[in-house]
Amino acid sequence: MEIIESIRGFISTEICSGSVQKIDDADLLIENGIIDSVGIMLLLGFIEEKFAITIDGDELIPENFSTIATISTLVGKKIG
């Protein structure tokens, strides 16, 4: 729960700068333009530092960043 809320909070405040009212777990982030290529850079920097993990090349696929839920699942797996 803490992971998913951290990610939601970061996307809402840092990537969207509060311009999106509410982002649900299953909202499509890329498809809806919530995250773009710079947004991915920001998000990766955040999750790698916050959760002390490294996202490897084969994990850097759009599917893993499509929703807050999929990002959270990826982070959860990396934390172990």
């Binding site: 995250i35 710079v38 850079m41 920001l42 530092e49 090349g57 850097l60 696929i61 759009p62």
Partner: protein, 382 residues
């Protein structure tokens, strides 16, 4: 906080400077004038294993960390006056980094050894006639999925190493209707692939030994094994690649800047006017002091970016700042160097005019200075 290089890094740097001064012997003035690629010097750089630096030994690489790679490339650009050749070498390394990070085991086994040995020349094709700074958003090259792979159609321009490349990493749209973040894919295409055409090199203002040109894909059919990473992963590969590129290209700029700075110091001490060395005049000294300031500060941010990346962490902000600050600083320093040298600076013989011409491109490729500012502002949350 440690600001010094290791003994190994220092000795490698010294060896590369010696190598560049003694072994890179092509007639640069002539090659620059004729727009000719110095293939013999390329081969010597390969023998020196410069292209092999950051790659694992199992692929024929040296296994160096990223900071060491940066230090070596800075040394190469300091010792070698051919910025076009250095750019070509860096392009080769960048292609290898993409294959190493995202390629399959088969792709790594097939391509990395030949890349490390400089046996084959690599290029990466992103820019298009209508897609420069907005490389992904305005991309038109299509890779249509068919039963036995993909069919590419489109045109890429200004591709470094493009006209002489044996292997090209190509970015193309596999899902034009999707958002660009998941609609782009990356392919490895060899030069003899039917439907792939390499056009003649473009004549440029500077970096004349670097071969830049148009690549055309007309029903260019490739197998599914040509795909780097997964379908739709291209934009992420591009992003990652740019971060590496913006950490490597400034290393070359910094090496050139260091050489130009030393040339100016030497000249300002030796050349006299009104009864004293021109370096004693503030108007001249200030220009050289500004060069020194850019060099020292540029080195700090570049080594910071490289150290972060050596630790396996992201350095998007640092890399963009390094690219912006050092390339702009180099351009201004080269202009000042010509001015400090007066009439001599304007001659071909003194070679500063070539450094100046070459430096202009540094603020354009790998994302213009304007784009770097835009990225930095986004990363700052503005």
């Amino acid at each position: 906080m440690e600001f010094s290089l290791t003994e190994e890094q220092k000795s490698l740097r010294d060896a590369v400077i010696r190598f560049a001064r003694q072994e890179i012997k092509h007639d640069l003035s002539l090659c620059d004038k004729e727009g000719r690629f110095p293939i013999e010097s390329w081969k010597k750089c390969a023998e020196m294993q410069i292209m092999a630096l950051p790659f694992a030994e199992e692929y024929g690489g040296c296994g160096s960390d990223f900071l060491t790679t940066v230090v070596v490339l800075q040394a190469l650009a300091y010792g070698c006056k051919d910025a076009g050749l250095v750019h070509a070498v860096i392009t080769q390394i960048l292609c290898g980094i993409q294959i190493n990070l995202f390629g399959s085991l088969e792709q790594k086994n097939q391509y990395l050894p030949m890349l490390c040995q400089g046996e084959k020349i690599f290029a990466q094709a992103i820019t298009e006639p209508e897609a420069g700074s907005d490389a992904l958003g305005a991309m038109r090259t299509l890779a249509l999925k068919v039963d036995d792979g993909y069919v590419l159609n489109g045109t890429k321009v200004f591709i470094s190493n493009g006209p002489i490349a044996d292997v090209v990493i190509v970015f193309a749209l596999t899902d034009p209707a999707a958002r660009r973040l998941d609609g782009v894919s990356t392919f490895l295409i060899e030069k003899d692939n039917p439907g792939f055409e390499q056009c003649r090199p473009i004549e440029k203002m500077g970096l004349c030994t670097l071969q830049n040109g148009e690549l055309v894909f007309r029903d260019c059919r490739v197998s599914p094994t040509a795909l780097i990473g997964r379908e739709g992963q291209g934009a992420i590969i591009f992003n990652e690649s740019m971060e590496w590129e913006r950490s490597l290209m400034p290393a070359a700029h910094l090496g050139t800047l260091e050489r130009v700075l030393e040339t100016c110091v030497g000249y300002a001490r030796k050349r006299s006017a009104f009864g004293q060395p021109i370096g004693k005049f503030q108007a001249v000294a200030n220009k050289i002091v500004d060069m020194k300031t850019v060099f020292e500060l540029g080195r700090l941010i570049l080594y910071k970016a490289a150290s972060i990346k050596s630790q396996g962490r992201r350095a998007g902000m640092e890399a963009s700042i390094a690219k912006l600050f050092i390339s702009e600083g180099l351009k201004q320093s080269c202009l000042d160097a010509v001015q400090v040298h007066g009439g001599y600076g304007f001659t071909r013989e003194y070679e500063l005019e070539r450094d100046l011409r070459d430096s202009v491109a540094a603020t354009i490729y790998s994302g213009t200075s304007e784009l770097q500012r835009s990225i930095i502002s986004r990363l700052m949350g503005l």
